[in-house]
């Protein structure tokens, strides 16, 4: 496995910083931030983020970052992080992002710039900061973000270039971000979650791109966003079996922020085009569109206490929402593995700017969000629930 900490982008960033430290006349502004949170999951019937039917602590996240403003036009930033989430994330260290941000335009009403390095994809309201519980509305992200699913590796940070900008137009603050990512490898720990194959295989992600446009109205009272991500998994084996799995996501997001409460709704359509070829001949062609969405309400009782509730649904095939077609074409398969309905109630306590404690309960109907390797067949219970707790610190 490549040692991510010595990627060329990090070395370049450090060298640039050293040069600029030596020559700049201004005192350079820099900040170091970090976060750490430990979670606990206790579930009925099915396992999630570890062996949770017996109570699992196999869920934690931590990261440390440094941001340096070399000049107001040039910002360097990097974050190293770890995350463990049962079988879906293995706790190994990784470079979360490492980038140079060059500001091309810096006026009161309009700003624009470019970023290069390992950059984050902007998808929906929460993808960019998904691994920091302090920026999530609840411990578990809505199904739009596939917290336990394999899509993470696809839309995760990757080496690339990004253009961004925002402008004020009357009551509207319009912002835009466009990213292209280079081809990259998929971690071995993620590979086995995505594909079950009896022969050795290698999985890579081909060039991908992502755009997001957001409109924030009247100081953020209303926020609307559209995000799109297009990428491709490429599988190669030694036996002349190759696979191409095209994925494209469209996310529609809306949020209303009032003094005490916030309402959020997001909807995603995931297009999958799968092709398997053996010795040049297509042996499998599949085209499936999944979708999912949620409606969420948060209420700030007091500055330190927030309660939330969410209704979330996910369908592996939006043209087969009951899963019956799937069960018909796959004898013995359970149709409830094609859907997941999650009703959540949660509470958050933030006694000060550093500490946070979260607790939530999920009532779930359907097993689409389960990891197969954590829940060997037969999966009997389509109705299940889980309690999640998390305590975290940030600075």
């Amino acid at each position: 496995m490549t040692d991510r900490m010595h990627e060329p982008t990090v070395r370049t960033a450090v060298v640039l910083a050293a040069i600029c430290f030596g020559t700049s006349a201004h005192a350079i502004d820099y900040q170091v931030h970090g976060y750490a949170a430990q979670g606990f999951v206790y579930s009925q019937h099915n396992n999630f983020f570890g062996d949770s039917t017996d109570g699992s602590f196999d869920y934690y996240e931590a990261g440390i970052s440094a941001t340096v403003e070399v000049t107001p036009k040039l910002l360097l930033a990097a974050q190293a992080a770890v995350r463990d989430a049962g079988i879906s994330d293995d706790g190994s260290g990784r470079l979360d992002y490492a980038l140079a941000d060059y500001r091309l335009l810096s006026e009161a009403t309009t700003q624009a710039g470019l970023r290069a390095g390992k950059v984050k994809n902007a998808l929906g309201f929460y993808n960019e900061t998904r691994d920091v519980v302090f920026t999530r509305p609840s411990i578990l992200l809505p199904s739009v973000y596939s917290d336990n699913q394999n899509q993470r590796s696809l839309i995760f940070t990757a080496p690339g270039a990004q253009a961004y900008g925002s402008t004020f137009f009357g009551q509207h603050e319009l912002s835009f971000s466009g990213t292209v990512n280079a081809e990259r490898d998929v971690r071995e720990s993620d590979e086995r979650l995505l594909i079950r194959l009896s022969v050795p295989f290698d999985l890579r992600i081909g060039d991908s791109w992502n755009v997001q446009v957001m409109d924030s109205i009247d100081g953020g009272k209303w926020q609307f966003a559209y995000s799109r991500f297009v990428g491709q998994f490429r599988m190669t084996t030694d036996i002349n079996l190759i696979g191409r799995f095209d994925v494209d996501l469209d996310v529609f997001s809306a949020r209303y922020n009032a003094e005490r409460f916030t309402l959020t709704a997001e909807y995603v359509i995931v297009g999958n085009e799968n092709l398997l070829q053996l010795r040049g001949t297509p042996i499998l062609r599949q085209s499936v569109e999944a979708d999912g969405g949620y409606l969420q309400a948060e209420y700030r009782l007091r500055p330190e206490w927030t309660v939330m509730t969410r209704m979330d649904s996910f369908y592996r095939n939006r043209h087969d929402r009951s899963g019956r077609e799937f069960a018909a074409t796959n004898p013995g398969a359970d149709r409830r593995s094609q859907v997941s309905h999650d009703f959540t109630i949660g509470v958050q306590w933030r006694p000060d700017e550093h500490w946070g404690v979260w607790a939530e309960h999920h009532w779930i109907n359907g097993t689409a969000s389960l990891q197969g390797l954590e829940n060997p067949p037969p999966v009997r219970d389509q109705r299940w629930s889980m309690l999640m707790l998390m305590a975290g610190y940030k600075f």
Binding site: D29, T67, Q79, L99, S106, T135, Y164, N257
Partner: protein
């Protein structure tokens, strides 16, 4: 003598009342900036761009240094609503998003208005806010007479 006092005070601290906003009557929170920025016109969109940390430099290219009181301080809440037309949690959410994606710096949190005044005074390119009642009786009087003098001074 009065003129010297006024100039000395201006060198230490300058209070700016934001003029452009038509919505509020008499604001209870004032923006404070480093002396070099006294001629800058602060309207709502500029304040928003500065306090959301999107803008990193002043028109002359010098870096912006933003100071804020803690999120739960009622003065913060008041300032964000009156001057920016934003809720403090929306602002905090925007700052966290920047900090944890490497796309910006967070504002520096100070613990008291005294510390705020001290930091803004001593940091080039700084901006912050204080409540009007923060001034002692004598400071307040001095300021009122100073602003009159400055107005006179403009006519020279």
């Amino acid at each position: 003598m009065k003129r010297i006092l006024a100039k000395a005070f201006a060198a230490l601290l300058l209070m700016l009342s934001v003029v452009a906003s038509a919505q509020e009557s008499i604001p209870a929170v004032d923006v404070i900036v480093s002396p070099s920025l006294i001629s800058t016109k602060f309207d709502r969109s500029l304040l928003r761009a500065v306090f959301t940390m999107r803008l990193r430099q002043w028109p002359d290219g010098s870096p912006i240094r933003v100071f804020v009181l803690p999120d739960h301080d009622p003065l913060s809440d008041q300032f964000y609503r009156e001057r920016l037309g934003m809720y403090s949690y929306v602002l905090r959410r925007a700052w966290d998003r920047m900090v944890f994606t490497g796309t910006g710096l967070a504002p520096t949190v100070v613990q008291s208005e005294r510390e705020m005044i001290e930091r803004v005074r001593s940091t080039p390119g700084a901006i912050g806010y204080v409540g009007k009642r923060e001034l002692s009786e004598s400071d307040g009087q001095l300021l009122r007479s100073m602003s009159l003098l400055l107005a006179e001074g403009d006519n020279d």
